[in-house]
């Protein structure tokens, strides 16, 4: 086989693989939308779920998903970015740094159900909080932190060394250089890491089963006092997310319209992830543009 044929063959193989991936993705979306879209209605999105009767909605689950996402990211992003900065800029190469890196890698490969059990032990039982949003968010933090640290470290290392040198040579301190040159340059890659982490939060069920629980108290959306039991903003209340809801109605649902609720929920979940992704990228682009004056 001459090299031209080989080249053509390789191109063909890669195109086939690309088509396969796209087709699987498109098929999946199509399936979820065709099955779920017809169940999505204003009522479905704005009524609370029911345990026994048909016609329940997913209002609380949808809110819980976004709220847990918000709380998780509020904890994960600062700690993760801080850890990444430490690993890339401050940690001296050596045994301790290697140990930290190994720990991070082990942490990132733990199955989520194990993290859920760990969360049950620590955030639910030891603290005595019971099933809470905060416990769920902390369990998801454990689950997401390694990715966040890793992507931040990689993003910072990818910033050209000469930019860093240029700043230091101007008599700028290390911290100011990180703050004003390195982080803005690394921002798009860090944002991508954060979006990936957020996607995992949306889809995660196993780690939340034993930490945020399978139920949601009766919520009053006009109550904005975060310390009130009925307030949706209370972080010390149990909260069932969409992903957990899909799992629970399918495995132990007593309602007659399981099919409708789970298909509808799945479609809403996928659409939420999509909207969140696009919005995060759009906002990220605006921020990046503003801080770096690039197009």
């Amino acid at each position: 086989m001459n090299s031209k044929t080989a080249d053509r063959l390789a191109t063909g193989v890669f195109i086939t693989i690309a088509i396969m991936i796209t087709a699987i993705l498109a098929g999946l979306f199509f399936y979820i939308f065709v099955n779920g879209f017809k169940y999505i209605s204003f009522d479905f999105l704005t009524t609370p779920s029911s345990n026994v009767r048909a016609g329940g909605g997913i209002r609380d689950q949808l809110f819980n998903s976004f709220y847990i996402l918000l709380i998780t990211m509020l904890i994960t992003v600062p700690i993760g970015v801080g850890g990444g900065i430490y690993m890339a800029e401050y940690a001296k190469p050596g045994k301790i740094t290697d140990l930290i890196r190994t720990c991070i890698e082990v942490l990132s490969s733990l199955p989520s159900i194990v993290i859920g059990m760990f969360g049950l032990l620590v955030f639910v039982n030891t603290t005595g909080w019971g099933y809470t949003i905060l416990g769920g968010a902390l369990a998801l933090t454990v689950f997401n932190l390694p990715t966040m640290v890793r992507t931040t470290e990689d993003a910072i290392r990818a910033v050209p060394q000469d930019l860093k040198e240029a700043s230091l040579a101007l008599g700028i301190t290390h911290w100011h250089t990180i703050k004003t040159v390195i982080l803005p340059t690394a921002f798009p890659a860090i944002l991508t890491g954060a979006i990936l982490a957020a996607g995992r939060v949306f889809g995660e069920a196993a780690a939340l089963l034993f930490t945020a629980g399978l139920s949601t108290p009766r919520l009053d959306y006009t109550n904005w006092n975060p310390f009130s039991e009925q307030s949706p903003l209370n972080i010390f209340r149990p909260a069932e997310t969409l992903a957990v809801h899909i799992w629970s109605v399918n495995t132990q649902g007593l309602i007659p319209d399981v099919e409708a609720v789970s298909s509808g929920s799945a479609a809403v979940l996928v659409i939420s992830v999509l909207i969140f992704n696009l919005a995060a990228r759009w906002i990220g682009r605006i921020i990046h543009k503003r801080i770096t004056a690039t197009k």
């Binding site: 001296k92 190469p93 050209p160 000469d162 930019l163 040198e165 240029a166 700043s167 230091l168 040579a169 101007l170 008599g171 700028i172 301190t173 100011h176 004003t180 040159v181 803005p184 340059t185 801080i291 770096t292 004056a293 690039t294 197009k295």
Partner: protein
């Protein structure tokens, strides 16, 4: 770190030795640098000229396993002393690198970067500094209508002049240049050389170059480095007409290197 006016030497380097791990990169270098002159350093790759340059603002300290002994006196103080304030030193000793390395920010922000962080907040004052620095490097006319455009959109030569402006904006006394034209085309190179000629009115310039014609064109004094040793250091006209050391002669006549 007030600049003393008693001596003409702004830098006085004595018995400087530097090791990268086991590699002895600078061997007992004595090197006085005079105020408001252009001092060029030539020599083959790996001879230690860049290493020497980076010792003058202690950029070398970033490299792990580096060991420096001897004295590097700047304005009468030995900067190798562990208490040296690197931030303060680098405010006085600016640096321009081989490749233009503007920050991914606007043209204005690049030049204003140093002064801003060193505490100048007033817009008017910053504007003056930026305009002056850009005029000093003869870039003002080319960029005055697009100060908020990204610096990375400039050509290679413009980027390098912007980097010089950025270094000048912190008002240094000395400007170190590490092969500032090696990545540029001949016309841009010529512009930078003319610039060096004008800048020496106000600044002390130390330049590392691979290009011997460049050293001959722009510098007042030239130093020839070989294998970490300073072989010869004299007025540029002397080095290029009547070198004392045969190794210098071999190098500048192109017999090796």
């Amino acid at each position: 770190m007030a600049i003393q006016t008693l001596t003409r030497n702004i830098f006085d380097v004595k018995d400087l030795n530097l090791w990268y791990g086991d590699h002895h990169a600078l061997k007992g270098v004595y090197f006085p640098i005079q105020k408001k002159e252009v001092t060029a350093m030539i020599g083959p790759s790996g001879c230690g000229k860049s290493t020497f340059l980076k010792t003058l603002n202690l950029m070398n300290k970033m490299i792990p396993n580096v060991k420096i002994t001897g004295e590097v006196n700047f304005a009468g103080q030995n900067i190798l002393h562990s208490k040296t304030d690197l931030v303060e030193l680098r405010k006085h000793v600016g640096m321009v690198f081989q490749k233009g390395n503007p920050f991914p920010q606007s043209i204005y922000d690049n030049v204003a970067y140093g002064p801003r962080i060193h505490g100048i907040k007033k817009k008017k004052h910053l504007d003056e500094l930026v305009i002056k620095a850009l005029m000093d490097v003869a870039l003002w006319n080319e960029v005055k209508d697009r100060l908020n455009a990204p610096a990375l959109g400039l050509s290679g030569g413009q980027q390098q002049r912007l980097c010089i402006a950025r270094a000048l904006a912190t008002k240094p006394d000395v400007l170190l240049m590490d092969e500032p034209t090696s990545a540029l085309d001949p016309i841009s190179t010529l512009k930078i050389e003319e610039l060096i000629f004008e800048l020496k009115e106000k600044y002390t310039i130390v330049i590392v170059t691979h290009n011997m014609q460049q050293a001959a064109r722009v510098s007042d004094r030239t130093a020839f480095f070989l294998m970490g040793e300073l072989i010869e250091f004299a007025e540029t006209s002397k080095i290029f007409s009547t070198p004392k050391d045969s190794r210098t002669e071999d190098y500048i006549t192109g017999r090796f290197g």
